[in-house]
């Protein structure tokens, strides 16, 4: 399968994208979360780059952060200390959890090669005063992006970027919808690779590749996948090996509701004459992150997915010390379990405890 291998290569070594983009003097802005509006960065002529972590164990960061800080953040800080993110012209964080807030001040204190900025997004959805507050914050962010890139962001350029990013979201969603079939044409780990590659690549290159992939996948012959259909949810899983583990144990992963896949593209920007307002509403009317209130919409969204994809079991991956999702998971487990068996699993970002994980996943799949 040509296209997926191209994408797997991009995910495994993304430097080539950076070199191509920077070769003609353009800038790259890193970000860590979905609530950072990539369209504004793109409209200023810069490449929004999601800083996925790497599965290596943490070394230097442990002397700056206590070990009880979420491993994803320590991994990013480790890479920052090793100057692996020096190609970034700026790192943009947003107000989703305590760890990220302190990552901003620790990064600004100890890593001077990449400037860091945090967007103060409200954590309440469908709230008029929240839209007003967030609009002010995004105006400041837009001004910053204009200064960094030296280009003016016009309504026209913003509208074009929004359209471009929505096209990618539509294509990824179309691809994921194919997994509703009894025999999904694309495996869970492959789907995650496609989604991560599309997030990494400039969207101008990603969209044609996605169209080509969808045609190839539609006609793809897959022998029967008779294992139980699994829905995976959690925060940020940027290592396809974890999805591969579930599939090796006989599960057929049909839905992966993660920050590195469906949470990124399941919703689209509603048409709006004022593009900035469109972005404000886009972020504050989609319940993808556990930090957002009220959480009822995200819970109904999960139940709806489970029904739509005819799922037999749900696996809820929690990254150790990730407070935002850990507080919510017991209540979610109870509610989801009324209809579908649900397993909550604690995962290390560096996947160190694979042995124990394998037993738990296999036992769960044997149970379905």
């Amino acid at each position: 399968m040509g296209t997926i291998d191209i994408m797997r290569d991009i995910v495994e070594n993304p430097q080539r994208i950076i070199e191509d983009w920077k070769s003609d003097g353009k800038k790259v802005v890193g970000h860590r979360c979905l609530y950072v509006p990539e369209e504004i960065i793109h409209a200023a002529g810069m490449l929004p780059y999601p800083t996925f972590g790497t599965p290596e164990p943490i070394t230097k960061a442990d002397s700056y952060f206590q070990p009880c800080v979420c491993e994803f953040i320590r991994n990013l800080f480790d890479l920052g200390l090793d100057r692996k993110f020096d190609f970034l012209d700026s790192l943009i964080l947003c107000n989703t959890c305590d760890g990220v807030r302190h990552l901003k001040s620790m990064w600004s204190t100890y890593i001077d090669s990449v400037p860091c900025y945090i967007i103060n997004n409200p954590q309440k959805m469908y709230d008029e005063s929240g839209f007003k507050f967030y609009r002010h914050e995004l105006e400041m962010f837009k001004g910053m992006m204009e200064d960094l890139s030296g280009n003016k962001i016009t309504d026209e350029s913003l509208r074009k970027s929004i359209e471009l990013f929505d096209e990618t979201r539509r294509l990824l969603k179309e691809l994921y919808m194919l997994r509703k079939r009894d025999v999904p044409p694309i495996s869970g780990s492959e789907a995650l690779i496609v989604s991560m590659a599309s997030m990494l690549m400039p969207k101008e290159k990603a969209n044609p590749l996605l169209r080509q992939l969808i045609d190839e996948v539609k006609t793809r012959e897959i022998e029967n996948a008779d294992g139980p259909r699994i829905l995976i949810t959690g925060s940020i899983i940027d290592n396809p090996a974890l999805i591969q583990l579930v599939e090796d144990m006989g599960g057929v992963v049909v839905v992966d509701d993660l920050c590195s896949s469906m949470k990124y593209f399941w919703y689209e920007t509603k048409p709006n004459p004022d593009p900035m307002d469109a972005i404000v509403k886009f972020n504050l009317e989609r319940a993808v992150c556990a930090c957002m209130h009220p959480s009822q919409q995200r819970f109904d969204y999960l139940k709806e997915l489970a029904r739509e994809f005819k799922v037999d079991g749900i696996i809820y991956f929690l990254i150790k010390y990730c407070h935002t999702f850990t507080y919510e998971s017991p209540t979610y487990q109870e509610k989801l379990e009324e209809e579908t068996p649900t397993l909550t699993l604690e995962v290390d970002h560096s996947l160190s405890g694979l042995g124990q994980l394998r037993t738990r996943v296999q036992a769960f799949i044997e149970m379905l």
Binding site: T59, K60, D62, S63, S352, G353, G355, Q356
Partner: protein, 257 residues
């Protein structure tokens, strides 16, 4: 002036008899279950080794986990002070020390005159280094003393988690089941301990010349792996175990003057 320093560790008890700057005699024995008995026996053996009686000793300083259990009259001091005093006495130019004891490890930063600027003790997850190594030696059916050399003959690098010694144990057990070569597992174990110690040293930004103390410092495999990780050069005194007790004896002399 004759002084005695006794370090009642959780696994082993060390005693040093000091006359001015000369070590007259020293003794190392396992603490076992009864710290009181162990410290009394260690004291008696070291005294007749040095050929002196209890009355000749001007003052005694005790340290270590079981310092409250010492039956004879002695002043107390913490391990951090004793390690620093002893280490800097042997190597005045050292910038810091790492003490890998049986139960927990300590990183100490000192200034030119041997005074402690900063220190860090291992957190819960990193404790039990001694028990962990013994358990691994038993699981791999290897003599604990040889673990160091064997680990140096390993050919390929394998990852053993450095988060906590219980996970490391379960990972090693599963590696044994998968028939991974013994030397490679040993190297993985040593790397796991070394990176925990490296993390501890990093917490107080230890660099420059460092002295490595404690019974486990005799394990050349661990020292080699630690050298790879840490930019600084490491010195291992010939009797790394008794440096704490030596420091206690030196403190006894200072407090007497």
């Amino acid at each position: 002036m004759i002084t005695v320093g006794i370090d009642v560790g959780s696994l082993s008890t060390k005693v040093v008899v000091l006359n001015q700057d000369r070590i007259m005699a020293h003794e190392v024995r396992s603490t076992g279950v009864d710290a009181k008995k162990a410290s009394q026996e260690a004291m008696d053996t070291v005294l007749n080794k040095a050929g002196i009686s209890f009355q000749d000793v001007e003052s005694i300083v005790c340290t270590g986990a079981g310092k409250k259990k010492v039956p004879f009259e002695a002043q107390q001091a913490t391990e951090v002070m004793c390690d620093a005093r002893g280490g800097c006495h042997l190597y005045p130019k050292a910038n810091g020390l790492i003490d890998i004891g049986g139960e927990n490890c300590r990183a100490i930063k000192c200034d030119a005159k041997g005074n402690v600027i900063d220190f860090a003790l291992n957190d819960k997850c990193a404790s039990g280094t001694g028990i962990f190594l013994d358990a691994m030696a038993k699981a791999l059916r290897v003599n604990p003393e040889e673990m160091g050399e064997l680990s140096l003959q390993s050919t390929q690098d394998i990852e053993v988690t450095s988060m906590c010694s219980v996970f490391a144990e379960s990972e090693v057990v599963s590696m044994i089941h998968r028939r991974t070569p013994k030397n490679d597992i040993l190297r993985g174990i040593h790397k796991s301990i070394a990176s925990r110690i490296y993390g501890l040293a990093n917490r107080i930004l230890l660099e420059g010349e460092l002295i490595v103390l404690g019974g486990i410092a005799k394990n050349i495999g661990l020292i080699a792996t630690l050298k790879e990780l840490m930019a600084s050069d490491l010195i291992v005194p010939d009797e790394p175990e008794i440096v704490g007790a030596l420091g206690a004896a030196l403190l006894a002399r200072e407090r007497e003057e």
